[in-house]
Symmetry: C2
Subunit: 334 residues, 2 copies
């Protein structure tokens, strides 16, 4: 056990590179400012997903633009030049915030959450966009929108972003030049299926596999009655990821995967085989995933994934994925 921990520690400064030399970017999902030490210790190459909900939780009032800016600036500076992808507020659904006074909805996961909530409260979104743009003065920042479902929503955000920039410039508030790239999370099936269009209107994609799987399969995995049906290897899920990766490639924009699939060493090879070259995960998972990537060859992962995609049965897919993983680990132990 100790030897394993020491081995994983040594991994920190090694690149996430396959046996045949394909370089994968491995980043961290961050929920709280206090996690930065862990992020560095685990060898994250940046923050692929900074959740901003912590700024809104357990308080009776909303944080001001300046307060948010101070929070974000500290994190961007703490990352010492490494990229930080900041997601706008993703509350609603299961995530509640007292200060927002959210109402009840019959199916919170299908209700007023994430960017929908932000667009319904423009003042809230404007303060957040301003804080994120300003944080870009202190390091490479990217602005990420959760739960975009249509090109119309993306257009609305562009209009609000432009208004915020104009207001800040008029008030001589310093802003980075160029402005931070604006990307969308692909986590609604309708967005994945419109990925070609969305890719032409934004700067990068981040696939959120947790929600994408939930909606694609109509399974709430927090509900024990159906949780066993939640399946990252369902052929429909693999097809949506593959299509989204292809759309990003055709439009020439970067794409990363930041759901739990990205942090599962067993699934990293599948994602690589689907063309993903950037993964963001809970920092603690980075060493194991990196270790697994360093034992894979990309050519092998691609062949393996092509075989998976040719199967049409999720159980068969899972069995083959397990089989290949077990063989790989046996080979590695020898």
């Amino acid at each position: 056990f100790l030897r394993t921990r020491r081995n994983l520690g040594r991994l920190r400064d090694l690149p996430a590179e396959t046996l045949d030399g394909a370089r994968v970017t491995v980043m961290a999902n961050v929920e709280l400012a206090g996690e930065l030490d862990t992020v560095h210790q685990c060898g994250a190459e940046g923050i692929g997903l900074l959740r901003t909900e912590f700024m809104f939780m357990n308080r009776p009032t909303l944080p001001s633009e300046d307060e948010q800016y101070a929070f974000l600036r500290a994190i961007v500076e703490g990352m010492r030049g490494r990229p930080v992808t900041i997601r706008t507020l993703d509350v609603g659904g299961d995530k509640l915030s007292e200060a927002l006074e959210l109402g009840e909805s019959p199916n919170p996961a299908l209700g007023l959450r994430a960017i929908r909530l932000s667009l319904s409260r423009p003042a809230l979104l404007e303060a957040q966009l301003a804080a994120i743009l300003r944080a870009g003065l202190h390091g490479p920042v990217r602005l990420l929108l959760p739960m975009i479902g249509s090109i119309e929503e993306l257009r609305q955000v562009h209009v609000i972003r432009d208004r915020v920039v104009k207001r800040l410039r008029a008030a001589s508030v310093p802003l980075p030049d160029p402005l931070p790239p604006l990307g969308v999370m692909i986590e609604i099936p309708g967005a994945a299926l419109s990925a070609d269009t969305l890719a032409r209107h934004c700067d990068f994609f981040a696939i959120g596999t947790n929600d994408l799987i939930q909606y694609t399969l109509a399974i709430d995995r927090s509900d024990p009655a159906v949780a066993p049906l939640y399946n990252p290897l369902h052929p429909a899920v693999l097809r949506l990821i593959q299509f989204t990766v292809g759309a990003a490639a055709r439009a020439g924009i970067p794409i990363s995967v930041c759901g739990e699939m990205a942090g599962d060493p067993r699934l990293a090879g599948v994602l690589l085989g689907l063309g993903v070259t950037s993964l963001s995960m809970s920092a603690n998972n980075i060493p194991r995933v990196k270790q697994n990537i360093r034992r894979l060859s990309l050519a092998d992962a691609e062949a393996r994934t092509a075989a998976l995609m040719a199967l049409d049965d999720a159980q068969a897919i899972a069995a083959l994925a397990d089989h290949l993983l077990v063989n790989r680990e046996r080979t590695a132990e020898k």
Copy 2:
């Protein structure tokens, strides 16, 4: 107004046929046995969707197999040789039944509902399958499964169906020969995206647009906070319908559409243009939809739909659909 009603009445015995001679089958969705008079008056060519929930509602105990058989037999006989597509229980979600003692779930629409609930209570499903199969002695019956999400679920139903048939035969209960065809509702994005596989393992498809749109866009349209975002013309929805229709055609199985889209005269042309030739709707909508089909040419609908699919903006799509409809109605008035 009176003249319009009389005109619609005359439509009853005319076929739903386009100007260029393409024949569309127009059927009724039925919720209660008492609707059969209306079904006949409106000129339905059969029941494209018989909901069976009414047998389970407002009662403290579950109906027995014989009780269900008697209910279904009356409806099948009442349809006098026209086809009746009987869907197994579709409770859960918003639809509650006292006798089933369903628990609470955080997102009922993503929980234990429809075929998932049936598969979790095999005795319930077996009684229903037995009653539906036996009803097939009295007219052309088709057996429809709601909310199939994977090939595994379909396989489980096949196993249970075969077990039921064996039991009935062993007890010398008469059954139709051949047995009623077994079809699946395509109403989960994951099912639509696996339509090619599902089509090889069942006898027909029925697309349920209400749920398909809900999950594809992650919008609960019963929730006023997001209902305006529910959009049947979202490009992703059109793509999923088109893909499913194509998969059915490749496998040589029939397909119909039975969500509210099917009963919207404005959208009938779009569905025809996507290759749909069978629609099932609330009986009251049949005359208007039939009237609209009789004013369309299929060639025109196909060209129009190809134009819609080339657009990537739902607002532009809706505007073009409206524009074409207005032009069409003006032409028809002249």
